[in-house]
Point group: C2
Chain length 218, copies 2
DNA sequence: CAAATTCCGTAGCGGTCGCTACAGAAAAGA
DNA sequence: TCTTTTCTGTAGCGACCGCTACGGAATTTG
């Protein structure tokens, strides 16, 4: 006997003509999930208790566990929702920017606005929601995500150094890590009360480190 | 009757000739406190339980409470110890640097070494040990400390802009916040596994934003 | 010695944690 | 209507949380 995997019926994949069998869910799953995103974003994984979640999501604990598995699965799904919405600007900036410099400039400028948007918690969920975690897997998952972002910046810098858009002796690792450090520091300062304008000033200053095209370092 | 304040006999202020009355403490207070610093540094305030503390400190819970008050008081004392030892480099760099630029350069370069020292947990306790805290007072205390550091950098920049060491139109707030953001981002990246050399590269890159003496911005 | 004072180890307090057993309610299928 | 399926609310599980009452141990004072 192989172990049974609990059937997940969370995301209906069948057409709209087929109705599920039993009593229908009395709440909107996406709306409840969005509330969980906000709670985790503001207070982090550990400091957000299941009773906190059931309160803000407006459902009972059994409904939460039936719809989302357990607290950790709910958090992972909340991280995915965040990455596809509030946090998607960073991936877009890095993909769509015409050059590494333009991509990072857009990344930092949009971060200044996003991190201080009064419509949701300050800063970046990926940076802050799983620090000091008693569940190391949760902490590691977001750490990997942060390090992947550093690598993404580095790849763009390295590509521009290869094409001549940046000087060939550019230190791609240091330039990328600097951009990432400014990004992460901006998130921290947003949490500490910095304004959008202050963070835009940081972003502008940070862009001064980029070598100009046609200028070689040293 | 006004409320009695519990007599604290933790730090003996009398001369060495006077012996305390009852049974002497069977552990060294400073050594135990140092262990608590390490535990809070690595796992943060909330994720470090009292039983974690009693284990690493090698004492029972009643001894901990008798010697340090409660968990929060112990944490506050640990933060003070940290600020006077591992974290003291930042204050020294900002005070002793001959110019704002030299002070920040030393700050960042020493941070690269300190944040990655394998002899203790990575990164900065003040930045990481009280995030996502269910006790907002604890979180706020370290937030104030971080914002005070930003202000300290800003003061040094402003002073140099006044003397002409930096251009008079220098944006002191942005320059200081950028330095602080890099500092905080370096701490985050140290926690995420960055090496000393990588962080030194970040520090070097970050210093490129500073206007040279005799050069005016715009 | 005895008395007084202070510390330590055991053991456990009330509270919250993540999670779930259970029974009733609400829907579809027969 | 009756059965089947699924969801919901109550109520509570064992584990851990921060913290402490209590009695015995260790030390100074008289």
């Amino acid at each position: 006997m192989h172990s049974m995997v609990k059937q997940q019926k969370d995301q209906p994949q069948v057409g709209p003509g087929v109705k599920p069998r039993g009593r229908p869910r009395s709440f909107d799953r996406a709306t409840a999930l969005e509330k969980a995103v906000m709670a985790f974003w503001e207070h982090g994984y550990e400091a957000t208790s299941v009773s906190d979640l059931t309160r803000v999501m407006g459902i009972g604990a059994p409904s939460l566990y039936a719809a989302f598995g357990d607290k950790r699965s709910l958090f992972e799904e909340a991280v995915r929702v965040y990455g596809g919405t509030y946090g998607s600007f960073s991936g877009r900036a890095l993909e769509e920017g015409p050059t590494a410099r333009a991509a990072v400039e857009r990344l930092l400028r949009e971060a200044a606005a996003e991190f201080t948007d009064p419509g949701h918690p300050y800063g970046c969920l990926v940076i802050h929601a799983a620090t000091n975690c008693t569940t190391p897997e949760v902490e590691d998952a977001l750490r990997r995500q942060r390090n992947a972002n550093v690598s993404a910046i580095e790849s763009r810098v390295r590509a521009d150094a290869a094409t001549g858009e940046l000087p060939p002796d550019t230190d791609a690792v240091a330039l990328a890590r600097h951009a990432a450090a400014v990004f992460q520091g901006m998130s921290q300062q947003a949490r500490d009360g910095a304004s959008r304008e202050e963070l835009e000033g940081v972003a502008e200053i940070a862009m001064a480190v980029w070598p100009r095209a046609g200028t070689h370092a040293g």
